[in-house]
Symmetry: C2
Subunit: 271 residues, 2 copies
């Protein structure tokens, strides 16, 4: 039987969800039913949450796990009345932090918070627009404004990685697909040569590449293992010859690809 | 003087960063210099981290705050030797969870983790491709496969919101811009009528819309406050008449828009 876990927040729930997933992933043998409840920002909503948690208990299940990142003390205390096992992130960590910093924490998500978010919003939108405008070599004249330019064969993961960097960190990431034609010529394409320091390569296992391309264009030469192997071999040789740092995306999630590139290329987060 | 905070992880660092930002945001009066150090997955890297933290101390600063989500116990214990104030997320929460669940936690990021990630990767890429293919009304024939279709005037935040839902949750989000022409006719455009249940509206403050459009096309009619006010008024009337649920994006960050829509439209996360 599955154990139920609730990730509860009075905001987006992203922190609670991400922390909860990391913690529960450490228990291999146990299956969890995970439920995220964001925007629990009133006592009325808190009442419904407590009812929902207690219903799980009453249905004969084991105590649900509750992990919350609720800033509002009143709502948090109300939810603490539930019959689940509560892991409260803010009360656990804010007290020691208050002592260390010699300051009281504000339990309110006041106006200053909203202003920060607005600023982050604009940076993010700008970065997303930049990525979309500079996707797949569409507009190479903006490369001087790019923080990074990903290069790789078609379907090696460039676009999602660029968009993740844009959305999560406001980084302006362009990408350029090295086509068969590019790969036939020696060295980097002309349009990339002036931006050497910003180039980062993606490579991928040819079998996986073939599988991905096959979904897009079944039984095409483009998706054949021969073609994929050839392109990957050629691009990996190019990366070595031109000393372009690169990452093999085969076993990585989009956020792993993005955060590894940011870390290794020492890119500054804009948000 | 700024206080330095390090967010350290042996993985992406996304959880540490997001939790750290949330906690420190509760201390209004203190300025922090925040440094994220992901992929600290060897004792060698841990040694460099400790050196870096202790250097901050020696430069006469106050104790740095260290918040870590390191799964590997050996690395975690090594970093605990530093002179900073350490908030260790896993050791704080895993012990009580082990007692509650009656099971030991695995301190390893073994093979099962990688498989989960691979699966998530594919769902994510599929969702991102879906969003890009169905961006700005480009390919309305795929709307039956969409989990949600965002509608709104140009530059109201549709594309970033769709991409965030795709990347973070694997949700297939299409979007359709309601053009001036669409807005002149009564009711919903033909191509949306069969998908009523999936439609979610975005609206925005006309002043902010004008500012955003102005950056894109300065001094155009498109960016004029008159035009923006007219479009927003018309679309809000349409949302009311057609009973389309909607969200005003003006003061929200992309993740807030995305998580609010997911929550209110009761969308299932695919990852």
């Amino acid at each position: 039987m599955k154990r139920t876990a609730f990730f509860i927040s009075d905001s987006t729930g992203i922190t609670a969800e991400s922390l909860g997933n990391s913690l529960l992933a450490q228990f291999d043998g146990i299956q969890f039913e995970k439920i995220t409840l964001p925007y629990i920002d009133s006592l009325e909503k808190a009442r419904e949450v407590v009812k929902r948690i207690d219903t799980v208990m009453e249905q004969g299940q084991q105590r649900p796990i509750i992990l919350d990142t609720i800033v509002n003390e009143e709502i948090r205390e109300y939810i603490a009345r539930c019959k689940g096992m509560m892991i409260d992130v803010f009360s656990t960590f804010l007290k020691p932090l208050e002592i260390e910093l010699g300051a009281d924490s504000s339990y309110s998500v006041g106006t200053s918070h909203a202003i920060v978010e607005m600023h982050r919003y604009k940076d993010r939108i700008d970065a997303v627009n930049f990525s979309l405008d500079n996707d797949d070599g569409a507009r190479i004249q903006q490369y001087d404004k790019a923080d990074i330019i990903l290069v790789g064969v078609s379907r090696s993961g460039k676009t999602p990685s660029c968009l993740y960097m844009a959305l999560q960190y406001g980084i302006r990431a362009a990408n350029y697909p090295l086509t068969e034609e590019d790969l036939e010529n020696p060295g980097l394409p002309q349009c990339l040569q002036a931006h050497r320091g910003k180039i980062y390569g993606l490579t991928i296992d040819p079998f996986q590449l073939a599988a991905i391309r096959h979904e897009r264009r079944p039984n095409s030469r483009y998706a054949s293992l021969d073609q994929c192997s050839h392109e990957v071999r050629t691009i990996e040789r190019l990366f070595r010859q031109e000393r372009i740092p690169c990452i093999n995306t085969t076993t990585f999630s989009v956020e792993e690809i993005a955060t590894r590139i940011i870390s290794e290329a020492k890119l500054n987060r804009r948000i």
